[in-house]
Every structure is written in structure tokens, then in C-alpha cells.
């Protein structure tokens, strides 16, 4: 039995992105194309998203121009490729409060949102700090916090205190404090009737941006492979590595089950297609009796 279909949906991208920002120490590597994506989960009566991207409104256009983000498309356009409308989404798991993950809650009018309390609390603290410490507020849009207040007033925002089992059936949420951000969250999908230890997929948010974060050549230190965290973090690299170990343990050290969303090479590993808008859809798995949305399925 497979309960949930999982699709990684690219909604924008930036070209010529320094690999060293995604993989610690990769200073000599060629720049990469970095997709911005969210993850669609469908099954057991739910339509859920992991993260919501950012809105191309207000400063969004400025962002796109200034920082060379290309080909942004709305959730309406992106989700339509899977036959889903934003209104159909009932649950959203926010892995962290960076604008490219938490910056478009308004487009999902019927969803309940989950985020770690630690994430909100620590950002609130950081926003109080002197300008000389402004580096710590990077990627945060105070407007997103106001929109979260609106959601809360509508009863559609849940602040979590750590790990949660079965947030919706078969889907567990895990906190990684002081890692990529202060209260980063990762998502595990138990895809065989919610059984533990079987058919598990990990959606790590930005705790894992590229394949190398989980499996880097370890010949330099005489091991087959090693973890190598991403370089952009306000927390601890150690905590990222520990979170990756926790993920890997859950999937019995099968790194293919950890799905990075800023990784253009997903299309090399999973059946994928390019939409008419030039965006990539990667089909991580299909629920029983569900039709492929990348058919004819092909791995690039």
C-alpha cells in the first residue's frame, strides 16, 4: 500500500548560484541552478503542502529582478499541473519562516498551517536586536508574521512545540532547533498505512538542500561518504548534521528517501517532466491507483 503521492513542484529558479552556499566548502565547484520548490502530498483524504513559496507581489518583483530569480509562477499555475487548485489544499507544513518557504500563505484560503513555536519566538527576539546584528534577520519578511497573525485570528495557524506524530494520518513533524533556522522543521511521510519503518520519505526543508549534504565523497577522510551541511544557517552546523543523522536513521540509511527541494538534479533521480511554463515536476512516489502527472514518466 502507498498512501500518499508526493510531488516536488518547482515554482521559480535562480541561475549561477554558488554551490558553496548550498554545500559547505564547495568553493571550487561550478555554480548551479537552484530551483525554488514546494512539495505536494495527496492521500488519505488530504491535500497538503510542505511550504508555500513566496508571493510575487509587493517586493516580490524587486526580489526577482535584484537577485535574478526567474520564471516565478503562482500556486494556481503550478498546482494545476497536478489537477489541484490552491483552494483544495487543507494542510500546510512550514519548514521555516524564510520568505521563499513562508511567503505566500494568502494564496491558500482553506489551509491550516503548522509551524514550530520556536521559529516564531526566536525570530521575534531577533527582530528586536540592534542593526549591527541585522545579519540574523536575513530572509525574514515581517509582513509574513503579520499574515501569520491573520491566520491565527482565523484559527488556521498551529504553533507546535517540538515533534508531532500523525499531524495528519501517517505524517510526522520533527523539530531541528538552532539549525538552518532557529526552529526548523522536517516532515516524514510513513507511506504504508502509517507503519513505522516502512516506506518512509523525508521532506527536509532547507536542512538538506543538495544531495551532497547527505552523501558527500568521504575519501578525504577515509570513509565512503559523509554528511556535509549546507552553508547558510543561523544556527549550528552540528545540529544540522545531527538532524540528517536522525532522518537517515528513520529511512534506514537509504539517502534516496531524503528529498531536497533546492536540488535541480532531482529530475535525474525521479520521473520528472518540464511543464509548458518551463518548470520541473518531480514525482517522488504515487499513491495506489493514482495516475502519474509526469507521464510518460522519464528520468532525465
Amino acid at each position: 500500500m502507498v498512501d500518499y503521492s508526493i510531488h516536488v513542484l518547482e515554482y521559480a529558479r535562480t541561475l549561477n548560484y554558488p554551490k558553496a552556499a548550498l554545500v559547505y566548502g564547495a568553493f571550487d565547484d561550478e555554480p548551479v541552478t537552484m530551483p525554488f520548490s514546494y512539495v505536494l502530498l495527496r492521500g488519505r483524504g488530504h491535500v497538503a503542502l510542505v511550504d508555500v513559496g513566496y508571493a510575487h507581489r509587493d517586493h516580490g518583483k524587486y526580489l526577482a529582478n535584484k537577485y535574478h530569480i526567474e520564471n516565478w509562477r503562482s500556486p494556481q499555475v503550478v498546482l494545476a499541473e497536478c489537477g489541484v487548485a490552491p483552494e483544495d489544499v487543507d494542510t500546510v507544513f512550514i519548514t521555516h519562516a524564510h520568505f521563499d518557504h513562508f511567503g505566500n500563505v494568502e494564496d491558500f484560503p482553506n489551509a491550516t498551517f503548522y509551524i514550530q513555536r520556536e521559529e516564531i519566538e526566536r525570530w521575534t527576539w531577533v527582530l528586536s536586536l540592534p542593526d549591527r546584528m541585522r545579519w540574523m534577520t536575513a530572509s525574514i519578511d515581517p509582513g509574513d508574521i503579520l499574515r501569520a497573525v491573520d491566520l491565527s485570528a482565523e484559527g488556521r495557524m498551529k504553533l507546535l512545540d517540538g515533534d508531532i506524530e500523525n499531524a495528519i494520518p501517517g505524517i510526522d513533524l520533527h523539530i531541528a532547533k538552532d539549525s538552518h533556522t532557529y526552529g526548523s522543521m522536517w516532515v516524514s511521510v510513513r507511506n504504508n498505512q502509517g507503519r513505522h519503518g516502512e516506506d518512509i520519505w523525508i521532506l527536509p526543508g532547507d536542512l538538506v538542500c543538495q544531495f551532497e549534504n547527505v552523501k558527500m565523497d568521504g575519501s578525504l577522510i577515509d570513509v565512503e561518504s559523509m554528511y556535509n551541511p549546507g552553508a547558510q544557517t543561523v544556527g549550528s552546523y552540528t545540529n544540522i548534521v545531527l538532524a540528517i543523522e536522525e532522518m537517515m536513521k528513520l529511512v534506514e540509511y537509504d539517502e534516496r528517501r531524503i528529498v531536497p527541494v533546492h536540488e535541480a538534479r532531482l529530475a535525474d533521480h525521479f520521473p520528472s517532466r518540464i511543464t509548458s511554463e518551463g518548470l520541473t515536476i518531480s514525482e517522488i512516489c504515487l499513491a495506489d491507483e493514482e495516475d502519474s502527472v509526469v507521464s510518460p514518466a522519464r528520468v532525465r
Binding site: 535562480t14 537577485y67 524564510h98 521563499d100 513555536r117 528586536s128 536586536l129 508574521i145
Partner: protein
């Protein structure tokens, strides 16, 4: 000469800070806030500091409208902080909800004023993109900060 960028950024951050405090208070239940770090600054004190800096500014003619919006944002934020204090002092749940709704409206008004005043090329932006993931593209960018005259 002083730049208005720190004032603008401060207002944006205070807005987010009050929004965060409000959000946390809506979900407080039995949880204590852990904001008592020695560096934590109270939004009231920060706003007072900004008000003091604003008093020293004499905007050029072409910046009068933007300056007005910033002054208006400061006043509205002061009202928002006042509502926060009222919520803390109110025992009546219904009254508390009314004040909360009013506070949210005011925060959105401040945010709208800041959006109106935004000039990303001059560093007036509510989002700190300078250190964002997507900014790591090796393209140098420089703010041409808006300079405003100061009474000395």
C-alpha cells in the same frame, strides 16, 4: 546628515516584533516566552528612540510625502503598542478580542505605510534580502541611501 534607512528598518522590525508577540500570545496557553535574553529590546523603547531620531530630520521637499508616511507609521505603531498593553491588562475575553482585532488592523496599516514608502534601491525594504539565500549570486549591489537633512 543621517540616513532614513535605520529608521525604516527599525519600524519594519518593530512591526514584525509586535506581530510575533501577538501571535505568540494568541497561542500562549501555559507557555512562557523566552525573550528575556539580555539583548532583547522592548518595542516601546525602540520606538521612542526612533521618535527621537525622527525629530532631528528635516526632509527635503521631494521626500515630504514619504516622510509623512513614516511619521504616520510611527504614530500608528505607538497606538499598536498601546493596544498590546491594553490586551495584557484586560480580563474580559470579548473586549480582549476587540482590542486584538484593532491591533491587527493597526499593524497592517503600518505595514501598508512602509510598503508605500519602500524604495528597495535606496535600502528601504521590509525584507532583509542582503543576506538571503538568493542573494548569494556574486552580483554586487549598493544602496544609494536616501539622505535627509538634520537639524543640528
Amino acid at each position: 546628515m543621517v540616513t532614513v534607512v535605520p529608521i525604516y528598518t527599525g519600524l519594519s522590525h518593530i512591526t514584525g516584533q509586535i506581530g510575533g508577540l501577538l501571535l505568540l500570545s494568541m497561542h500562549r496557553e501555559n507557555h512562557d516566552l523566552h525573550l528575556d535574553h539580555k539583548l532583547y529590546r522592548d518595542p516601546r523603547d525602540r520606538l521612542s528612540e526612533i521618535e527621537g531620531n525622527l525629530d532631528t530630520i528635516s526632509p527635503p521637499k521631494e521626500a515630504k510625502l514619504h516622510f509623512w508616511a513614516i511619521v504616520k507609521a510611527v504614530g500608528t505603531l505607538r497606538q499598536a503598542i498601546d493596544r498590546m498593553e491594553r490586551i495584557a491588562a484586560t480580563k474580559d475575553a470579548e473586549r480582549c478580542d476587540q482590542i486584538t482585532a484593532d491591533l491587527i488592523r493597526r499593524l497592517h496599516k503600518v505595514h501598508a505605510l512602509l510598503r508605500f514608502t519602500a524604495n528597495p534601491d535606496a535600502g528601504l525594504t521590509s525584507t532583509d534580502f542582503d543576506n538571503t539565500c538568493c542573494n548569494c549570486t556574486g552580483h554586487a549591489h549598493h544602496h544609494e541611501s536616501i539622505k535627509l537633512g538634520v537639524h543640528t
